[in-house]
């Protein structure tokens, strides 16, 4: 009798322990970055390492994507819950089909696209690209905007010889002088500078934003399924990410060290330099006026305008405000 009582008590205690664990178990999210680990993706790692997500009761699994379109697809397919991706990729996808993904926070309020050139390049302005050979990654989203940017600056896109190649070949091609310049993101300047140094050269850049390309870039995206099922979780995750982003801006080296804790082969100096290169896209006049993370309607409309023009879509094909959910932006 005593033994049975003991067994029943043990069973009850087990049940209690299980239910308590369940009650306090952290929510899990699968967070997908838009590219391989690099300095500019360090904020999420910093949030995890600093315990910002744990404080919000969230356990994060970080997955590496291979481009914003993949992040949008994986979120829509339910293979990831939240992540980072370019807002233009989301707008384009939503204009063309039903995609149950929303942008919940902006990260870059300026576009990161630029031309990387060797020091002393004859290309001094965008107009000088006529007759030159430029290298670009085969599947870069910048390729879509490029002809529109040229046309809006009265330059014939056909006058430029655009050579498509693997992203890993761009630096060597530039250093070897096989191309006059490359199309890249601002965050790649440090690693290009490293390779160019080996060739005894320095780099110069031409920012596309100086030639009229404006709009939101990298943003935090979430699957609509998660937003509907657990809006509180999205709010907590966005809050934790905002804290991490603010700390990374303040201390890029700390962010790079957090990244190295997850990706041991990472070079801390290079990662910190990459994050630093991305800070002007996060903190700038736009973020000063509206706050980091917000989506200002006029700039959002301009973002969509660029996408619509580059994809030859009607401007009324999408209301860009339908692609965003501003409820979760941290104060």
């Amino acid at each position: 009798m005593a033994l049975r009582l003991f067994k029943h008590s043990l069973f009850a205690l087990g049940l209690l322990a299980a239910s308590t664990t369940a009650a306090f178990a952290a929510d899990k999210i699968r967070w997908m970055n838009d590219w391989l680990p690099s300095g500019d993706k360090a904020a999420i790692y910093l949030g995890v390492e600093q315990g910002f997500f744990a404080e919000e009761g969230i356990e994060v699994e970080i997955i590496n994507g291979r481009g914003s379109s993949e992040v949008v697809t994986r979120l829509a397919a339910g293979a990831a819950d939240m992540g980072t991706g370019g807002l233009p990729a989301l707008l384009q996808a939503k204009a063309e089909q039903t995609i149950n993904v929303s942008a919940v926070m902006s990260i870059y309020s300026m576009q990161p696209d630029l031309l990387i050139l060797p020091e002393g390049s004859p290309i001094r302005s965008l107009a000088d690209v006529e007759g030159k050979t430029l290298g670009t990654a085969t599947f870069s989203a910048s390729n879509v905007i490029w002809p529109i940017l040229l046309r809006s600056n009265d330059i014939d896109p056909d006058s430029v010889n655009l050579v498509r190649m693997d992203p890993g070949a761009l630096g060597p091609m530039l250093a070897a002088g096989r191309v006059d310049g490359t199309i890249n993101w601002i965050t790649k300047i440090p690693s290009f500078a490293e390779v160019m140094q080996e060739a005894g050269k320095d780099v110069e850049v031409i920012l596309w934003s100086d030639y009229g390309l404006d709009g939101y870039g990298l943003s935090v995206l979430a699957s609509d399924r998660l937003i509907q099922r657990n809006p509180d979780l999205v709010e907590r995750a966005t809050r934790a990410y905002s804290r991490a982003l603010a700390l990374a801006v303040e201390n890029p080296r700390l962010a790079a060290e957090a990244l190295k804790a997850h990706v041991p082969e990472m070079d801390v100096e290079l990662a910190a330099a990459e994050f630093e290169a991305s800070i002007p896209l996060i903190v700038n006049d736009i973020s000063d006026a509206n706050g980091i993370g917000t989506f200002e309607p006029e700039l959002l409309a301009k973002t969509w305008e660029w996408v619509a023009r580059s994809q030859e879509l009607a401007l009324d094909a999408l209301d860009p405000t339908s692609a965003i959910d501003t409820r979760f932006i941290a104060d």
């Binding site: 680990p37 690099s38 699994e61 590496n64 990831a80 250093a175 080996e198 041991p264």
Partner: protein, 280 residues
């Protein structure tokens, strides 16, 4: 006098000749054994020389010494983690391919209906560029190792099916008839006659497929992975660290050669009779 001198010289050289020949043979035997290693060393030497003489920068063609330096600059734990991840995916996909391909081959070789129905489908799968469908597989199967194992399986299984079917079909008709006349069941005929005949074919496919399994794992890791040598190559090239990417390639080639040898050893150990006499 002249003839005397010649005969004297001949007589003094006579005991030396067998010894010289013996030494020559020994050297030749050693050369024969070391030839692959010497050839590899010569290639590496020429490669290093070209890089140094023409002062080729690392981003164009890293020298062997630069590759070795970059390999040792990384913590061995990092190499082990990535190598183990690739090995796990390769062996997972390879095992799945064997488990599915051999019974499927038995089915195809013994049923005309199955052969006519399934063979075209298998050819379609084989003709589909896996690199193209890999991203779709990842989206469908989600995160984790399963999509990578499945991609490896798709790249690996076709040679095993085709070669096994060829082996099974090569069984002499008289033997099959004899087995039937003795009242053996179909299962017994397959187990005791057809499969033993197919063993050399199966192993030649297994040797090809193990190298394909490594390629499959790398393709899968290029598409979606957080670990593995394929991921590490993509990661290194994204930072334009070309010597590091080359070092990973060398690890991959070494892994591939080792696994190839393991399959050859397994055949020699389990089925020595299936090998040509000089290879046993």
């Amino acid at each position: 006098m002249n003839s005397q001198t010649t005969s004297a010289a001949r007589s003094s050289a006579a005991p030396l000749q067998p010894e010289l020949t013996k030494r020559k043979l020994l050297v030749l035997a050693w050369l024969d054994r070391l030839a692959p290693v010497l050839a590899a060393l010569a290639v590496i030497g020429v490669w290093e020389l070209i890089c140094r003489v023409f002062a080729l920068p690392n981003y164009l063609l890293p020298s062997p010494s630069a590759i070795v330096t970059s390999a040792f600059a990384l913590d061995p734990g990092i190499w082990l983690t990535h190598t183990w991840a690739t090995l796990r995916v390769s062996l997972g996909g390879y095992a799945l391919a064997i488990i599915i391909a051999i019974p499927l081959a038995v089915l195809l070789a013994n049923s005309r209906l199955m052969s006519r129905t399934l063979y075209p489908m298998l050819v379609v799968i084989q003709s589909t560029p896996i690199v193209g469908v890999a991203p779709i597989i990842v989206v469908l199967m989600g995160a984790g190792e399963m999509p990578r194992i499945f991609i490896t399986f798709l790249i690996t299984f076709f040679p095993i099916v085709v070669s096994t079917v060829t082996g099974l079909m090569s069984t002499p008709e008289e033997l099959k008839e004899l087995s039937r006349s003795l009242g053996a069941s179909k299962a017994r005929e397959i187990r005791n006659i057809q499969l033993p005949f197919a063993v050399p074919y199966i192993f030649s496919a297994l040797r090809i497929s193990i190298t394909l399994a490594i390629i499959g794992a790398v393709v899968a890791e290029f598409v979606a992975a957080e670990k593995g040598l394929g991921f590490f190559i993509a990661f290194s090239t994204s930072f334009l660290r070309i010597p590091q990417a080359f070092a990973a390639l060398i690890v991959l080639v070494t892994l591939s050669l080792l696994l190839f040898q393991v399959i050859a050893l397994v055949q020699r150990w389990l089925f020595p009779w299936s090998l040509p006499k000089e290879s046993r």
